[in-house]
Each structure stands twice: as C-alpha cells, then as structure tokens.
Amino acid sequence: MSEMRDILLEQVERLLADQSGPETLRAVEAGVWPAALWTEVEALGLPLAMAPEEAGGVALGWDDAVAVWVALGRAGAPVPLAESMAASALMPALGFVALAQPDGTALWGHAATRVLAGDGALHQAAFTPGKAQPSNEPWDRAALPAGEATVLAGALVNAAKMAGGLEAVLTLSVDYANVRKQFGKPIGQFQAVSQQLSQAAGEVAAAGVAVANAGRAVARRGLSGAEFEIAAAKVITGEATAQVAAVAHQVHAAIGFTQDYHLHFTTRRLWAWRDAFGNERFWAQRIGRAALARGGAKAWPDLAAREDA
C-alpha cells in the first residue's frame, strides 16, 4: 500500500467518475476509441507507471497496479489502461501498448501503437477488427508470433478487472434491493433476497483477496514465481462471476435483463473477462497438475510456505 498507489488510484478514480458511464461503455461497444479519456490517461503518465524511471515510468509495483486495475474494472474498464500498464511493465514503450493472447487477439489491437505478443517482443501489427463475446469490446486479431509471454500478466489484469466488476455488480444489486419495493417493503428485507446477496458478498470478498494476493506474489517473486497465485485469482474471480452475476440478475429481475438499465454493461464484461487469458478450467488444470505431480504429502507444506519468510 504505497503512497504512489494512493495517488494513482485517486487520479484514476476521478477520471473514471467524470468520464465513464453507460454512454462511454456503449461507445466502446460500437468500436469508438475513447480518445479523450485516453489522452488524459496518457497526460498523467499512467500507461508507463510500472516502467522503470529510466524508461519514463515510476516503477509502480504489481501489487499497487492491481489496485488500480480493480478500480478500472469497477467502472467497466472503458480504456485498456490495465493492459497497457502490464505490457509496459514487461517491455516499456510509449503510447498504447496492447497485450496479445497467444492466439494473436488483443483488446483494442487496432488502436494500439504497438502490441506485446506471445513471444515477449513488441510488434507493430495490422489488426482485423473483432468483438469479444458477450461484452462487444473490440477484440482484434493479427498474425503475431505465438507464445506464453503475456499469459500470466494478462490473466492477472483480467482477474483484477473482474474483482472490480464484481464489486460494482454487488453494489448495484444491494442498492436496488434497498429501493425496489414489493409487498410494501424493500425486497432486500426478504430473507430469500438478502441471503443471496450475502452469499454474493462472500464471493466478492474472496475475489478481492485472491487478486490482491496474486499482485503481492508478483511483486515479491515476479510473474513466473507467482503462477499459483495468478491462477488461483483467475479461478476464484471466474467462479465468483458465475455466482455473483446469477444473484445480481435474480435480484434485479426483469429490469436487469434489459438494455434500459446498466447492470448488463458489467455482467457482460465479467462474462468476457473470465474467458480472456485462460478460463477457470485452464488455470485450475495447470495448478492441479503441478500439485498432483508433487503428491498429497507436499500439498499443504507447499501452500503454507508460499508467503513464509
């Protein structure tokens, strides 16, 4: 929890409060690059924040960066700042640096100055526009070298955005349950409703902890030394998404099923983000295989030792 983090977090939250909302998110889904917002983000030096000072950054740590990405996710991440920050942490470069998956797809690829590809190198690529399902965010495709160099960073970015999105969905649902009245009282006063929201709150808290834990692990041991924690964060945020989105839509009932109301902006993004850079199964298999190979007797000592000095 550095001072730098608090400053950046405040800047990002202020920007998002002013410039993110249903209109911005709708424009994103229509493929309109949020140029004004990105200009402000760049003016603050945010995309390069994680780069070392000699490369123009402030060497923001991964643990602090995760907090910024959670804030972005809370607002539906209208700009690919998290991706650009993570890319620049690995290969510092000016402008918007997109982060490609091993298959050559990248969020906002067509708007990128460069793209960090699976081979761990920066490229300039011609992207064919595409759309992520079901968020309609621009997931563009280019012929890029394959490889796993971006997978851990991308998984952490998306897990962090999900932790924020999950918070937003819970907040919306609690607020709605407090104002929507049926049978003469707010529906949140019915135990059948409040218990669902309590369960969702547990999942949201777990998601936040899993993501913070992964950020701390990367800050301490680097991306490859934090594979377990990143995998766990992607699994937990993915599992939480299934539960929390289900509760949110049940609590909101018909209005949440419409485009007239803004719940869908976040739930659809959560459903897209959980597939980006490896879904729950991908990451669970990876850490499960490793643990099974180590054997049952090692499982607890391995887990317990992860943060011991």
Binding site: Q191, S198, A201, V209, A210, G288, A291, A297, A299, L303
Partner: protein
C-alpha cells in the same frame, strides 16, 4: 463501496521454524490417528494429546506470561492452528479453552479466576465446553430459558442445554443463563448472564447424544438445582448476551472454518493421478483453500491489532463452510471406481460430519443475516 475490507497479512517471521517444530511433533504423535479421527479433528477429544501440546507451549500462545501464556503473536498462534488442522490432529480437548474460554476469562474474568483457570488451560489439563443452545433455543439463542436464580453466595441453576460439544468429557462449561426475566419480549437479550459451571457439580446430568456418524460428540446437560458460587460469575450479571456474542467473533474467526476438510484432499491426491477430472478439480480446490487462507489470516491480523472483526469472521466462516462442506462430495465425484480404503474411511466420515460445519458456531442463515446487515440491507 459495499462489503468488507480484508487487508493481506504476512505470516510471522517465526513461521518456518515454528512449522518445522510442529510438523516433527505431529508426524510422531499422528502415527496412529485413523482417517476417522482425522476427519473429526477439532471435534475429536484426546486429553493426552492436548497435554503434550500444552507441554510444548502451543495452548494459550498469545496470553500473558503471568498466567502461563506464551506472549506470542496471534499470527504465530494462527500458524500453529493451521498446522494442526492440516493434518487433522485431534485437538478437541483444548480447542474451546484455547479459542474462546481462555480469552473470555482473561478479558472479563476476575484475577482469582484467571489464576485458577488459565494456567490449567495452558497445560492442556482443563477442557472447556460452551453451554449456549437449548432444546427450544438454537438460532434464536436469546430466547433461552435455563435459569440461574440468585441465592445466598451464588446461583441455583435449573433447565437444560443441548448440543454441547464434548461436555461429557470436559471439566467446565461457560454457560449462558437467564438471571432475570426479560422486561419485554423484544428485550430478551437483557437479563442473561455467563457462569463458569463445574460439569462435575452435583445436580448435573450429562447425556451424550450420538451423532449421525456414530460418535458421542455432543450432549444434553440437565441442571437440577445446581449451585454455582458467586466466584464463578463471568463478567457482569445481566451482560451475558454482549459477552457471549463477542466471544463468537473468536469462535468464527479461526482456520477450522475452512481447513476441516483439507486432510481429505491431501489424502486423496495420491490416488487421483489417473482420474481425468482430477487436475481441474484439485486446482479449483487449492485455489479456494489458498484464498480462504489469506482471508482467515487477514482476520487473525485484525485480532492481532486489537480489532473485533465479528462481521469479517462471519463472512469468512460462511465462504469457508461452503467450501469445506462441499469438499467430501467433490472428492468422491473424482473416482470412477471405489476409493482406496483410507480415503473412503475419511470421505464417508467427513461427508457426515460436514453437515455440522454450517450449523455450529452460527448457522449459515444467521451468518448471512449478519452479512446482510453489514451490506446495509434490512
């Protein structure tokens, strides 16, 4: 923002050395623990084991040295608890005293009570039970009716407590009783008092109740004109509700709220290599266990800082209970054929015992009610 904050904590610098010491001890002590004993773990009562634990300074680790405590940190205590639970050690004989009764006596007891009880809890000699539930008072605890009537020099108890874990094997029970009638049905939390009851006092009858797995885990206690001296009043007469519910923060905060089933996962892993669904399932369970561990550590850190994380503890217990309760079935679902004998014994026992995880220490519904209030609902 709604929801609760869980700041990450580090394990203490002493952790590696402490773990090594604990593991060496547990490997030796645990040579003859059956899978069934490991499945019960913190509900399994083994006084000899608890005395050995006490001898090594692992009970009352955070308590003042004046009373025999170890004056170590909450996080060192946390490391000790998780090492014990991870192997399913039968810690039931000292669990309640270490977790709840000792801290309560230290916080609210008289100097005389502290000197009388704390050193003997620390040594593993005294085992405590908690007398809360009654036949007609479960989740609606404040409706309890067992009376403690003021008489010269003490109180006279009449009534019944039920589901009191290991009472027939314990020495004392911190018991919540009605000392004066509620002034109004809506003010039933008033007039309750906590007394330290000697379970061998005359007029007490303890009837073990067989649980569904065949163990005498809990009991019904009948009080028939039982005399309890004034010297065994805990805290303030009439303030029992506030005292007992603050104790629940301790009860709900520990790693037993997510680790109870872990010994089954680790025991099963070596026979799952050929099962195709195993890597994903094991990965998901380890991801949960790791996350719950960080949440639980966070709560231990709040206790270390002198906070009273009652709502955070309720949330971690609720999420943890879901995980540990589902685990036995998730393990079973991974085997196409029969489970190896050891795994089967633990799985079938744990599957039954796991029903109690979301009941004891506050039902799932009560916990979610606490979380709902925190969210600003109701």
């Amino acid at each position: 923002m709604v929801g609760l904050r869980f700041d990450l904590r580090d394990t203490p610098p002493e952790a590696p050395a402490l773990r090594a010491e604990l593991r060496a001890f547990l490997a030796e002590a645990g040579r003859h623990w059956s899978p069934r004993i490991r499945a019960y773990s913190w509900m399994a009562f083994d006084r000899d084991f608890s005395r050995e634990v006490g001898k090594r300074g692992w009970i009352g680790m955070t308590w003042p040295a004046t009373y025999g405590g170890g004056e170590r940190s909450f996080l060192e205590r946390y490391v000790t608890l998780e090492e014990m639970l991870a192997v399913g050690a039968p810690v039931g004989a000292h669990w309640i005293g270490d977790r709840q009764s000792g801290p309560l006596i230290l916080r609210l007891g008289t100097e005389e009570q502290r000197r009388e009880f704390i050193p003997r809890i620390v040594s593993g000699e005294l085992a405590f039970a908690i007398g809360l539930s009654e036949p007609d008072s479960g989740s609606d605890l404040a409706s309890l009716r067992t009376r403690a009537e003021k008489v010269p020099g003490g109180y006279r108890l009449n009534g019944r407590k039920v589901w009191t874990t290991n009472a027939h094997r314990c020495d004392f029970a911190i018991t919540l009783l009605r000392t004066s009638p509620a002034p109004d049905p809506k003010l039933k939390h008033q007039g309750l008092t906590q007394l330290l009851v000697d379970l061998r006092a005359s007029g007490i009858e303890i009837r073990p109740i067989l649980d569904l797995a065949g163990e005498e885990g809990f009991n019904e206690i009948t009080f028939d004109n039982v005399f309890v001296p004034d010297s065994l009043l805990i805290g303030v007469e009439g303030k029992g509700w506030e005292q007992a519910t603050s104790e629940l923060a301790f009860e709900r905060s520990g790693p037993e709220r997510y680790l109870s089933s872990l010994p089954l996962l680790t025991a099963a892993m070596d026979s799952l290599a050929e099962e195709p669904a195993a890597p994903e399932a094991v990965g998901r369970m380890l991801a949960r266990a790791s996350t719950l561990r960080q949440m639980s550590l966070s709560v231990a850190g709040m206790l270390q800082d002198g906070e009273a994380p009652a709502r955070e503890a309720a949330l971690v217990k609720d999420v943890g209970n879901d995980f540990e309760q589902a685990l036995p079935d998730r393990i079973r679902a991974l085997y196409a054929g029969p489970m190896p004998d050891d795994v089967a014994e633990m799985q079938t026992t744990m599957n039954m015992v796991a029903r109690s995880y979301s009941l004891r220490g506050g039902t799932r519904e009560i916990l979610r009610g606490i979380i709902a209030r925190q969210l600003g609902l109701r």
